[in-house]
């Protein structure tokens, strides 16, 4: 929690986090009754993306990844149009041409979303270059996972951003903590020889920090520093946010193995399923944030329940909208090639 923010902002971020959780749960539930293909969910990372992106202004851009749903909702994209896009419908954000991997909304500051790991890193640097050259007080944020740091594109992108002191924020959501799979040097990340991800940044003299991505206050503080630094022309920043991979992401295909999140878990430990006591009791950033707000007297349990009820209704409506929407006309496949 960030004491400097007004209660309305703190509660607004809570609402966004709950909406993201309910969106992803609704999608997983939908995938149980019909084939929606593979997708990646943002469950467990809400406490990073929401406070980080809340610091951006209209005109700032963010480049996301295959795991983009939460990022877009955080900046105000309509979940109904996102769900429609995930189902390949004509009413989708990308008119059915992008799908879950490429959800984009230029008007909300997501010009294009690439599913090529590491691909957006230099593109984000280019937006920062344009903002500087055009004299605009804007910030370009590159969102990526720890795996992108294995790509050569990373090295080239951070070098250019550093050499040219560009207004770019590299926000690495390390979601490999407790993930199955490879580790190097016992560091919970993908296959990197580096001891710490921030070690990859230090030679470039770019400020680099690692924080608990489930700590909304820490995300707000470090992202706020990075945004201010970028806006005053002082150059790029690297933030590594540790996020624990949600149990439903193991193995790769998302499943609601934990069941739906009950917001009452935040104040009633006895309701938490024993199999997922660690996740719901200690790790989940969303529930941690609810507990913080309750403890600080910024919300009541009734407020949380009411926000949750609205979010569930909104996502149920989003699913209905998506299901009821038409597919694009086949010939639409030939449109949007050139201006």
């Amino acid at each position: 929690m960030s004491p400097r923010l007004r209660s309305s902002e703190l509660v607004g971020q809570l609402r966004t986090m709950i909406r993201i959780r309910r969106f992803e749960e609704a999608l997983i539930q939908l995938s149980e009754s019909q084939d929606v293909g593979h997708f990646h969910v943002y469950v467990g990372q809400e406490a990073t993306g929401v406070p980080a992106l809340a610091l951006l202004q209209p005109g700032d851009v963010a480049y996301s990844t295959h795991r983009n749903h939460g990022h877009l909702i955080a900046r105000g994209v309509d979940p109904a149009r996102m769900m429609a896009e995930i189902l390949g419908k004509a009413t989708g954000t990308n008119k059915g041409k992008g799908g879950t991997l490429h959800l984009a909304s230029n008007e909300h500051g997501f010009p294009t979303t690439s599913s090529s790991v590491g691909g957006p890193l230099p593109i984000a640097v280019g937006s920062g270059y344009a903002f500087r050259e055009l004299g605009l007080d804007r910030v370009s944020v590159c969102l990526f996972g720890d795996g992108a740091l294995e790509e050569g594109a990373w090295h080239e992108a951070i070098n250019i951003a550093a050499v040219w002191s560009l207004p770019v924020i590299f926000l690495c959501e390390n979601n490999s903590l407790e993930a199955l799979g490879q580790k190097a040097n016992e560091y919970p990340s993908s296959t990197l020889a580096a001891q710490r991800l921030t070690d990859l940044v230090r030679p470039f003299k770019v400020p680099a920090t690692a924080i608990d991505g489930a700590d909304v206050r820490a995300v707000h503080r470090e992202m706020g520093r990075a945004v201010r630094r970028a806006r005053r022309g002082a150059g790029p920043t690297f933030i590594e946010a540790w996020t624990v991979r949600w149990a439903g992401s193991r193995p790769i295909w998302p499943q609601l193995v934990t069941g739906e999140t009950d917001v009452a878990y935040a104040w009633d430990d006895t309701a938490i399923p024993p199999d997922h006591a660690e996740w719901f009791g200690r790790q989940d950033g969303l529930l941690r944030y609810v507990r913080d707000l309750l403890a600080a007297g910024r919300v009541t349990r009734a407020d949380v329940v009411a926000i949750d009820r609205e979010a569930r209704a909104e996502m149920a409506a989003a699913v209905r909208f998506a299901l009821d929407s038409p597919y694009p006309a086949p010939e639409e496949a030939l449109e949007d090639m050139y201006a």
Binding site: P111, A130, S140, A153, M337, A339
Partner: protein, 337 residues
């Protein structure tokens, strides 16, 4: 299709291709504050390179020499284009585009389509392509056929000073990415340019570089020059060759090609890409598909052979599409082998 005639000599200035290219870049910088040059090898390491150095002296804030990071600066060019600049990104030797291929073909080419038309990438990617003499396997590529297999990229292949100057204006004004390849051997080619103006040559309009009645040659880039030389030789033998230069592959002026084939009934395609799945393959396929009945003889392709480009001059000459090979193909088409 419009057959464009050369400008009146009185109003035009004779200049080299390299001069026309750099003059085009200068006009771009002068006419649009959003233009940035990202790279410095527009004319390679040839004797003309001072022209680019002069540009940097005149526009020090807008001509950027990037690190040796093709993924990085090509990607940065894409982001810069998305966010409001008009970058002209120089990848130098065309073989280096493979370092940046993910950015060019998997990012830039897809953005408009994948976003459902929300976002434009008005960037130009420039390369120096072709068999330069001694470039061997890793400095001699002509990647335009690979690029042509990627929907979403426009392809511009000038062959004269006038064309590079005018096509560049159209490229700059486009809202979509353009792949622009100059052949290294074109830089010294001279010709008339209306230098006081900067008139755009539209994309998708082929140019009849030489009119003829017996055989149609379709060629691009430096192969236009080589085909013109071959046509001159064939004229001495009494064969009238028409040389069609599409100038852009995307969009392609197929009508102009088909119309010429209908006039002559014979087609030779000259292309410096490798033979398999080259530019020549696609043009041959299109003509076979849409003008088969007009053909009096099989289509002939003159291309680089399907081996990596070798270093030794003796080997390189054997592999490349030479004037002699073009003449032989024309004779074969005339049934006079």
């Amino acid at each position: 299709m419009t057959a464009t005639s050369p400008p009146a000599e009185s109003a035009a200035r004779q200049m080299s291709y390299a001069e026309a290219l750099v003059l085009g870049l200068r006009r771009a910088l002068e006419s649009d504050d959003r233009v940035r040059l990202m790279g410095q090898y527009f004319v390679g390491l040839t004797e003309h390179r001072q022209l680019v150095a002069d540009l940097r002296d005149d526009f020090p804030q807008r001509v950027w020499y990037p690190p040796i990071s093709e993924i990085g600066y090509v990607g940065a060019g894409i982001g810069a284009a998305i966010s409001g600049l008009r970058p002209i990104v120089d990848i130098a030797t065309a073989s280096f585009i493979f370092q940046a291929f993910s950015q060019v073909v998997n990012e830039a080419a897809n953005v408009r389509y994948m976003t459902g038309g929300q976002t434009s990438v008005p960037a130009i990617f420039h390369v120096n392509h072709g068999i330069r003499g001694g470039g061997a396997a890793q400095h001699s590529h002509s990647p335009q056929a690979m690029i042509w297999n990627t929907p979403g990229l426009q392809i511009m292949l000038p062959s004269t000073p006038r064309d590079v100057y005018g096509l560049l204006r159209t490229a700059l004004e486009s809202e979509d990415p353009v792949f622009w390849a100059d052949h290294v051997k074109l830089f010294d080619v001279t010709g008339p340019v209306m230098a006081q103006d900067w008139e755009a040559i539209p994309f998708g309009v082929a140019d009849i570089k030489r009119a003829g009645v017996d055989v149609t040659i379709v060629a691009t880039s430096y192969m236009v020059q080589r085909s013109l030389a071959a046509a001159e030789l064939m004229a001495a033998d009494g064969v009238s060759v028409e040389v069609i230069d599409p100038r852009t592959l995307v969009p392609l002026d197929l009508d102009a090609i088909l119309a010429s084939v209908h006039r002559t009934g014979r087609l030779v395609v000259v292309d410096e890409c490798h033979r398999s799945c080259g530019v020549g393959s696609e043009i041959s396929a299109l003509v076979a598909e849409y003008a088969f009945d007009a053909l009096k003889c099989p289509i002939r392709r003159v291309t680089a052979l399907d081996v990596p480009i070798p270093f030794s001059p003796a080997l390189e000459a054997f592999v490349e599409p030479s004037e002699a090979k073009i003449c032989a193909a024309v004779r074969a088409a005339m049934g006079s082998v």
